[in-house]
């Protein structure tokens, strides 16, 4: 029996028939495997939830104890479990803290659901581990050859040079609360920036969670508690929705920055009113998508969401069969 016969795309999400569970289901289901904690993948009110310890903690924090699954079962990376007629394990996806690929085996065939992933180094989470398989399910957020993410440390250098050039202004960087925020801080530290990083209130709980899991983030301070003038020349992180809105009025002549893979396209950056776009993404870029799809050696590749036309066209050139699942509900996030 081929993997494409026992892993089934349904309206609720991908369904593993022999294990009787969904992976990242879009609606509440009795049994769910969750690849990572982003809101479009980790939804509330499932029955039994299986994920990494980190992802479960993120779900409890964001959804509340009572909505993060009736029962929660942690699974360590690489640890194997038999669920019904399928053997299941989780492997790192390199996307955010706790992010995992779901690896399923049945009768000598293997399917891997990668969730969201990236191949670029990230000091805040375990690196993506390619797993050879027969069926590989991939995202395609940045599946156009114009998306080639530069070295993130060069983008950080761009930010730090700008801070030097405008020492009286506050650099406010829009970033997603889970993953991007902590990665930015870690990159800043890696680049030798040891000053305080000021945080919008919405970003603080997850930074605390990362630190509890051993990711050191250095001197973090709430932006609302800064004394007058303290934010001049400082770096403030905030959710993208706050950077150009009323919250940002407290800042000194802010330089609006946004850290996202979309910032590679000028019009996208301009339409967001961004003054300093930082091309830092937690998703695989074009080269990483193609490399990964070829590395895992899968005969079939399913594309969950994104620019699937280009990816499927390119895969056909390598003799790989691609199929667009067009699962509705995974977000086209501006901050990816």
């Amino acid at each position: 029996m081929k993997a494409t016969e026992w892993l089934v795309p349904r309206a609720e999400g991908l369904y593993c028939a022999p294990g009787d569970f969904f992976i990242d289901p879009l609606v509440p289901v009795p049994r769910a495997v969750i690849t990572h904690g982003h809101a479009d993948h980790a939804r509330p009110d499932h029955g039994a939830v299986l994920a990494t310890e980190e992802t479960l903690a993120i779900m409890r924090l964001r959804l509340g104890e009572d909505r993060a699954g009736a029962t929660q079962q942690p699974l360590r990376y690489g640890e194997e479990l038999t669920v019904g007629g399928v053997r299941l394990r989780l492997e790192p996806a390199g996307h955010v803290l706790g992010s995992a690929q779901a690896v399923m085996e049945r009768a000598g065939t293997r399917a891997v659901v990668s969730g969201d992933y990236k191949r670029a180094p990230d000091p805040t989470c375990r690196a993506f581990a390619p797993v050879p398989c027969d069926l590989f399910v991939t995202e395609a957020t940045f599946a156009l050859p114009v998306f080639r993410h530069p070295d993130p440390l060069r983008e950080i250098d761009k930010l730090l040079r700008d801070v030097k050039l405008f020492p009286d202004r506050t650099h406010v960087v829009g970033c997603y609360a889970l993953g991007k925020c902590q990665r930015l801080i870690a990159l800043l530290r890696q680049a030798g920036y040891d000053g305080p990083v000021w945080l919008h209130g919405a970003l603080r709980p997850l930074c605390g969670l990362y630190e509890r899991f051993g990711v050191a983030l250095g001197d973090l301070r709430p932006a609302t508690e800064a004394a007058k003038g303290e934010l001049c020349g400082g770096i403030v992180l905030a959710p993208p929705g706050a950077i150009a809105d009323r919250w940002a009025r407290r800042l000194a002549d802010p330089v609006v920055c946004l850290a996202s893979g979309w910032m590679q396209v000028r019009q996208r950056a301009k339409s967001r009113g961004v003054e300093l776009p930082l091309i830092i993404s937690d998703h695989a870029d074009w080269d990483a998508l193609l490399t990964t799809c070829r590395e895992v050696g899968a005969e079939d590749i399913w594309v969950t969401h994104g620019r699937e036309d280009a990816l499927i066209h390119a895969l056909a050139g390598f003799g790989i069969r691609g199929r667009a699942l067009r699962l509705i509900g995974y977000e086209e996030d501006e901050t990816a």
């Binding site: 998306f147 150009a244 940002a248 019009q267 009113g273 003054e275």
Partner: protein, 531 residues
């Protein structure tokens, strides 16, 4: 090229003028000669390169990239240079350094057509995406950097601690890569001498006149002329050439060849100050007609016949090669009249002086002038020398009281820069009878005229009365009346309402007035567009 591409990138995203200036200063301080001179030329629009065909760029890209993927990408990005810059697959690790700005400029000038593709491919291979983008934009000419030549000159002036006008005065005598200019502003050499070049002279500007100012003026000392509603220009002819400059030192001659021809035909060494206008039935036409010509870099014959341009002369700066700017207005005026009388230039006439006994007579004349081509009056002190900039107490502009209309706020959009968190761009409309009863039709957009406090009120009002969102635009309840002041109303085929306002601004927020009592479109047209 790395410095230049970083500058381009940062300028493109920066709304604030002061920040753009800081970026330009930093670039000019850091970049070497002659790169920075060519960069300055590219920003100021004075870099003349053989135009590379867009098809060349497309061809070298599609030779390396799967055409389907190229089309999908181009479709997504929307800009050819940007698509190619991002998609360019490097064949092997870069062996060469990216080219410098000057190498690109000099090579583009010298290379033959058949050499070009190979050269460009090597450059792209050696460069990162933002550098590729800068190279391709230099090649295709559409730089659109988000900074004007004037801004770049202002940055240079700030480096030297001088007024930007000092640079304007010699600018048009210089050529890329402007080494003598950099030598001067950095103190290595003295100021370059424009000699016989037809350079721009900074114009003398007027202050708005308030009624309080008027009381202190003695009518004897003052001369009055109409303030015509065209664009202020400077005409310069020397042995070195003929130029038509805008008030901001832009060389706009190519758009008005008939004026250049008329000026050249005089054979005079002269610099004149005047208003560029379109002639309609022997009269100056409203600004909208001139706008038709301003929108074109080079006019067609048909455009020139439909919208014939002429210049109404205000002043003379150089007469037979002699600098007369130090003379009094009254003396210059005599020289100007004598010049017109002697030379009888084509496509030029004199701006008439208006005789008056006292200011109340003048005020009455001002209010009675309904012609759309007149903005108001100019008052010039008879003893005033022609001084660059806006000296106090010399020239006054006495605009007609603005026209007003009560309109209803319909849509709002967020502003830019400091205003990016405020809804500060407002679209307003007037009532008309629609098929299903009264409906609002938008007549214009205003984004100034209000105080900071009023802006906070409007921002709050918009947020609390939003009924629809279209991307960055919010539609609001049709419930707030705004008193809109404007200088003139014109017919327009580009607007749904058929009218366009000149300089619309928000004069007052009429929160007290019910929306249904705002003005109607029909009455508006009758009042302001009847003639």
């Amino acid at each position: 090229m790395r410095l230049f591409s970083a500058l381009l990138e940062r300028l493109a995203f920066t709304p604030a003028r002061t920040v753009k200036l800081a970026l330009l200063r930093a670039y000019f301080a850091e970049a070497p000669d002659p790169d920075r001179g060519y960069a300055l030329a590219a920003i100021a629009g004075t870099l003349v390169l053989p135009a590379a065909r867009r098809s060349l760029i497309r061809d070298i890209a599609t030779a390396r990239v799967d055409p389907v993927l190229f089309e999908l990408s181009y479709d997504y990005v929307g800009d050819l240079a940007e698509t190619v810059a991002l998609i360019w697959p490097v064949r092997e690790a870069a062996v060469e350094e990216p080219p410098s700005v000057s190498l690109v400029v000099e090579t583009l000038r010298a290379a033959t057509k058949s050499e070009m593709p190979g050269i460009v491919e090597r450059w792209l291979d050696a460069s990162a995406p933002s550098v590729r983008y800068a190279i391709l934009k230099l090649m295709t000419g559409g730089l659109r950097v988000g900074a004007s030549g004037r801004l770049a000159k202002t940055a240079l002036a700030e480096i030297a601690g001088i007024a930007p006008d000092e640079i304007e005065e010699i600018w048009h005598g210089l050529e890329p890569p402007y080494r003598p200019l950099f030598d001067w502003i950095e103190g290595r050499e003295s100021r370059p001498d424009p000699a016989g070049a037809p350079v721009f002279r900074p114009p003398m500007l007027a202050h708005p006149l308030e009624d309080a100012d008027l009381a202190a003026l003695d009518p004897e000392d003052w001369r009055a002329e109409w303030k015509w509603d065209g664009i202020r220009v400077q005409l310069v002819r020397t042995a070195g050439g003929v130029r038509l400059y805008s008030r901001t030192a832009e060389n706009i001659g190519a758009a008005f060849p008939e004026i250049l021809d008329a000026l050249d035909a005089t054979g005079e060494a002269v610099a004149l100050d005047g208003e560029l206008l379109v002639l309609r039935d022997g009269e100056a036409a409203p600004f909208a007609e001139l706008q038709q010509r301003l929108n074109r870099k080079t006019p067609t014959g048909a455009m020139m016949a439909r919208f014939p341009a002429f210049v109404r002369l205000y002043d003379i700066l150089f007469d037979n090669g002699e600098d007369v700017r130090g003379l009094a207005f009254d003396v210059r005026r005599k020289r100007l009249e004598a010049w017109v009388e002697r030379v009888r230039p084509e496509r030029m006439d004199l701006s008439r002086l208006i005789p008056f006994a006292d200011f109340s007579e003048l005020a009455a004349l001002r209010e009675a002038a309904r012609a759309a081509s007149i903005e108001g009056l100019m008052l010039k002190r008879g003893a005033s020398a022609y001084l660059p900039g806006r000296p106090r107490g010399m020239w006054w502009k006495w605009k007609r009281a603005p026209l007003t209309v009560d309109a209803v706020l319909m849509y709002a959009q967020r502003g830019h820069g400091k205003r990016s968190s405020y809804y500060s761009d407002f679209t307003f409309g007037l009532w008309r009878e629609g098929e299903d009863g009264p409906e609002l039709v938008p007549i214009g957009k205003a984004y100034f005229g209000f105080t900071d406090e009023e802006l906070r009120f409007l921002d709050r009002w918009v947020r609390h009365h939003t009924i629809g969102r279209f991307g960055p635009v919010r539609e609001v309840e049709k419930a707030l009346v705004l008193e809109i002041a404007f200088d003139a109303a014109q017919r327009s085929t580009r607007h749904k309402s058929g009218i366009a306002l000149r300089f619309p601004r928000i004069a007052r927020i009429r929160a007290d007035k019910p929306a249904h009592e705002a003005d109607g479109l029909d009455a508006f047209v009758k009042a302001y567009l009847a003639h």
